[in-house]
Amino acid sequence: MSRSVRAIALWVVSIVGGASIAGCAAAPAILGIHEPPKANAASAPLTVDQARSILTREFTAAQQGETTTGAAALAAQRTAYTGEGLRAANARVKLAKVQPSLADSPALAPQQPRLLALSRGFGFPRVIVAQTLSSKSPLPILHLLTSPDAATPYRISASATMLLASSVKPFDVLTKGSPLVTDGAGLAVAPIALLNAYAAGMAFPAKAVTNPPFAADTKAAEVRAGAAQVAQAVASQAGFSRVNKVVANTVYAVRQAGGDALVFGVIERTDSFAVKADQAVSTASNKAFVLLTGKKQVTRSASISTLEFVVFAVPRSSGQATLVAASEQVVAGSGS
């Protein structure tokens, strides 16, 4: 090898070697060591497998809670439900003897719950929207599961049976998650305003709702007609009134892929009876009332509370919201 060739080779090797040494100094970069990545706010906080596992756990517990008795049933209910969902489940089990229809119970269809949506991002609360099919009804049931903070697991907070011929528009893909709408931005009506208007529309004596943000539906018509019938039936012995109030922290709106939103909410309906002087009203025929209060007769007043779980489809820009699912459960009563 001539001197010049050897010198060139030495320089090449020196450059390569120098680069290697520099590389050692910058080993972190070569190995790919880097700062931890940022959280992707445009993704679901759960994997699809996690969410499905949660659904299986919750509906299995719901089934146990409604098919067993005693402390085990109560524990299972607390595992499955939360908030007004738990309140309704407790009452449903308590009144099972007099309200044999459990068509709305998610416990009847714990197999293959369908995962519809996961909330987006890592904030709280987080939600899961799911659908089950009851073996006793051809109509699917929509469920809202909520987790208020990182330490608290998802629980069923609302379940409502879909109305005939209603449908739910698709959500964003599960891995991406669906944003929660908190202020009604981009919707024809703010979710809380919608629920308040709907609740007001079912009062008795009836109050007209001007420019209702919701379309007329058969469920509300049935509820209003029922109130008129009750008022007429007790007219000789008691005065009847009905107040509906949206339960705080129960309204959740989940944005759908097309920009619309599916809105869940719970309305507490309170039926009040003011017994006329010198009247004694027999309540024996209302077995739910007797079970809840232990009273077969009232002489002064009585009240019955019912939770109404409603789900609306709210359009993105204009138009009226449409009721797509609704269920109700008597939860409390009092009398004197």
């Binding site: 190995l31 700062e35 959280a39 994997t47 990182a150 330490a151």
Partner: protein, 202 residues
Amino acid sequence: MAVLGVALAVFGAWTAVKLGPSGDAHFTATSTATGAIVVGPEVLNSLNVPVRVTATRGDGGAVWLAAAPSTDARAVLATSAVSTVKGVHFGAGTLDLRASGAGDLPDITTADVWRLLAKGAGSAELVVGQGRGPETAVVTSGDATALKDVTMTLTWADRSWFFEALAAAVIGAIIAAFALGDLRQSRPRQVSAMRPGPRHGR
């Protein structure tokens, strides 16, 4: 240059031997403090390769090991007493553990934030992949007994590291060989260029 080449060759060879053909890098530490052990994203997500997390209890008790998005893990751990893996030492193969917080850890096992979960008697292991944002691994007792005397091992594996180390060793050896060869050939030339000195007779 020869010294540089030798250093590179030695470093590359040592790294290749340490990693082995599978390219496994192991780091271990034993925590004697009572409380959960936490591996944050600055360690867990510092490389673009999966990391195997292994926790082994000295007393053979049940181990609960899980990984969650870091914000969720921080929220459930709150201010409880934990030992956090703060860094790794490649040469020594050890982990830095730093204790913080105070108070008992609440039952974190019921939370729905855990993306990965492993349980075992005496030890548990899970592999945390990358690409899901910052995640934190948490080790806690899987039974009623307090968690202490736990050996944590983190393992990263990438076969290419072994070959890169091998390449460094070969390059170092080549540099050293050329440098030494040049040194040897240049020394006689310097000698021949010297003028002969005066001869001294006896």
